[in-house]
Amino acid sequence: MARSTWRGLIVLGLLALSWFLASTVVMADDVSRSIAPPTSTTRHSKFHILDGPFESGREVTRACLTCHTEAANQVRRSVHWTWEYKSADSDEKKGKLHLLNTFCGTVSTNMSLCTSCHVGYGWQEPGNDSVVDEQVDCLVCHEQTRKYKKYNYGSAVLKYKDRVLKKPDFPSMAHSVTRPTRWNCGFCHFYGGSGDGAKHGDLDSSLFDPNHQLDVHMDAAGLNFDCVTCHTANDHAITGSRYDMKAQDPIGVDRPGHTDATRSSCASCHGNAPHGDKKINDHTDRVACQTCHIPRMARGGVGTMVFWDWRTAGKRAGDLEPPEAFEREGHTSKMMHTKYSDSHGTSWWAENLVPKFAWFDGRIRYLDIKQTVDGSELVRINRILGTPGNPAARIWPFKNTLAMMPYDPVNKIMIANHLIRNAPEDKEAFEASFDWRRSAAVGMKAKGLPFSGEVAFVEAVMSFPLTHMVAPKGEALSCLECHRDGGRLEGLEGVYLPGRKNFPLLYAIGIGAVVVTLIGIFIHAAIRGLMAWGRH
């Protein structure tokens, strides 16, 4: 008996031990730390055709195209050129050219400045046949001197009337070209929406040279990823656009030739079960990687804009009262700093913000500028689509940018404002006239929209999915950030989240039953004690 019992105990112990080991073993970190950019067989500094002299960017492009014969054609079909995107799942036309935003409102009525981020020399509407290949700007994405700069209408040469004020050193830039680096992409993408960090919350100049703490992948002393390490491209079409997002990547690890040939998802390197703990992996079918691994936005020391108040524009004095919306968004004015300019009004900026969370299946619907808006309601410039039941949807973090934007209270439509001068002579732009009626009239006319002559302001919000500035794994959210009452996902419907007070009635009954049991025990024990004492 004793012997068999001991044998049983040993087997039991071994079993328990094996369970324990199996469940705690941490999978080896399968992301190698030695990912180097591919080396090229070509050194452009040895090409004499790039020696110049070049009078304009177009001449540089002409030289590029002598070898890269298809490049310009490819670029002209890409979103970087067309600024127009047609979704596969709807007729909606997206892209900068068409959409409203919570910053300057519209791109298309402010083209002179906005096109300084266009990959071309001189803006032409898409479909314009007069566009020639050499209008494509190769240098902006490929040169590595970091001195290349673009001016109005995408020009690389700064002119006043016909006088050349600034001309870049084209030959040295042409000789420096490589695959695009962070400096090329960041030159535009880190400064969108009016300045450094304004737009996205997870893209700003701190990512030019980030440390491990800020971004584990782009860490300059570590993996040192470029943007295109993940945003892979075929034929100059960059993958991973916000207009064509996938909230999940069911394909998992990307194997060239076998999968979708993009690494613009976490799963394309890490797979869909990247954690050592099964239960944490069980989250990946509902929770986006970003939700836990981007604990806060604007973590690099550069603030992101959270509120743009156009009401104060032109008034030479900023309204420094924090807007009521901050309370709803969970912001406090202590986290903020403000900027004011006559032509742009007041903006509020903050760092290290907790994101907002929503179910997201990859689809974002945008407000059509022709749609009527009710001035008493918050205007959603874009809507994040996704329902908890949709297997393609994930809980995803967002940055919300709020704005008090101009709208036409009579026609009840948003105003496409003409803010930026087309040319020095342009007196109608808001930055010249400081008159909403004049600038709005021009903007609305350009858009072919009716304008009553009245301008009022309406609160608007626009959401940007967060996916950059991935923190080291030790900084990923702890369970309690969500698994408690009042946690980050408070109010998010359609998910059973242990740790919230999910069954208040059941808890009350359960605790009541335990308390009644204990009282019963106490009374019973007391009577026993009294009776025994009474006998003595």
Partner: protein, 344 residues
């Protein structure tokens, strides 16, 4: 001191019981962290260990179910109504009387009183399986599709788990309290720790015992009464380990009347009474008592009578002439102890 060490719980049972107890306590503590009702530990740690403990308990249970099947110990959990009412009466009333013993005497073969059987049965066929099933469903939530489990309502599964967990907490509280309901209070705890139940067959020192003397010779009766009542006055002269009250009765008629209403612990019976003689007296008494031990006092050395006395169910006969105090009290004590044993 005479003791009887009786093995109640084998080594495996004790290992099972105590490791299960620790695992259940750990599961309760970590589990209520997962629900958010406790917040002393880190959530991830609590959730992780809740799973490790659960798997360990599943291992333990697999072995234990196997053990119960091969040893036949599973029969301990078959519901029984034997002495059910007595046990209920005992827990609700008799337990407060320090003189009363538990009506159910635990043995190796019958470890559980009928209430325990019922409780443990409910625990092992309702509460535990529901905890396991809901817990495993919750653990394998992401695999429901692959496992062919219909799409249940996850928060419903969780609610069942939490409800059963509360039931388990209530059981746990009651169980811990009832461990100390033995007489003495730590007896059951000791048994579960050592495996042995120390049966103290010296009789219950806390109780007052009633000895009935049926004797018409008042001098003799007074002498016997004195013998019993001086027992223990002097600590060195303590033959009976208990306090004794004497009930002295002179006729069979009165004795029968008394015994019809009340029970006593020992009957000292003289066969020759004014209203009855010989074996008939014993027969009359035996017909009204339940199982009280009877010592017959007789003046005659009659072997035939003596064997008849034993046959009729008396424990022993004592010759009055040979009687001394020490002898009588020892015989009285053994008779009561023997009777206690026979009751088992």
């Amino acid at each position: 001191m005479e003791e009887n060490r009786q093995l109640l719980f084998s080594r495996y049972e004790r290992f099972w019981h105590w490791s299960q107890a620790l695992l259940i306590i750990a599961l309760m503590v970590t589990g209520f962290h997962v629900t958010g009702l406790l917040q002393w530990l880190d959530y991830k740690l609590a959730a992780q260990w809740h799973r490790y403990f659960a798997w360990s308990l599943i291992c333990l249970w697999t072995f234990t179910i196997f053990w119960h099947l091969i040893t036949g110990e599973w029969r301990q959990y078959i519901p029984s109504t034997e002495k059910m009412l007595e046990v209920i009466y005992y827990y609700s009333k008799g337990i407060f009387d320090p003189n009363l013993q538990h009506p159910f005497k635990v043995t190796r073969r019958l470890k559980h009183n009928p209430l325990q059987r019922l409780t443990y049965l409910v625990l092992s066929v309702v509460i535990s399986p529901m905890l396991w099933i809901s817990g495993l469903l919750f653990f394998y939530y992401n695999e429901w599709d692959q496992l062919g489990i219909p799409n249940l309502w996850l928060s419903g599964v969780a609610a069942v788990h939490v409800a059963m967990a509360f039931a388990m907490v209530c059981f746990f509280c009651l169980h811990v309290y009832m461990v100390f309901l033995g007489k003495p209070a730590t007896a059951q705890l000791k048994a579960m720790l050592t495996g042995y139940r120390v049966e103290d067959i010296r009789l219950d020192a806390d109780r007052e015992y009633t000895v009935m003397l049926v004797e018409d010779d008042s001098d003799f009766a007074r002498m016997i009464q004195e013998w019993f009542e001086t027992n223990g006055v002097n600590e060195t002269d303590r033959i009976l380990p208990v306090r004794v009250t004497m009930v002295c009765i002179e006729t069979l008629h009165e004795a029968v009347k008394y015994l019809n209403n009340k029970s006593v612990d020992l009957i000292l019976l003289d066969l020759d009474l004014p209203d009855s003689r010989g074996v008939e007296t014993l027969r009359s008494v035996m017909s009204v008592i339940r199982d009280e031990p009877v010592l017959v006092l007789t003046g005659e050395e009659d072997e035939n009578l003596q064997s008849m006395i034993i046959r009729e169910g008396a424990q022993e006969f004592l010759i009055k002439e040979n009687l001394d105090r020490h002898h009588l009290l020892r015989k009285g004590r053994f008779a009561m102890e023997r009777q206690w044993f026979l009751r088992q």
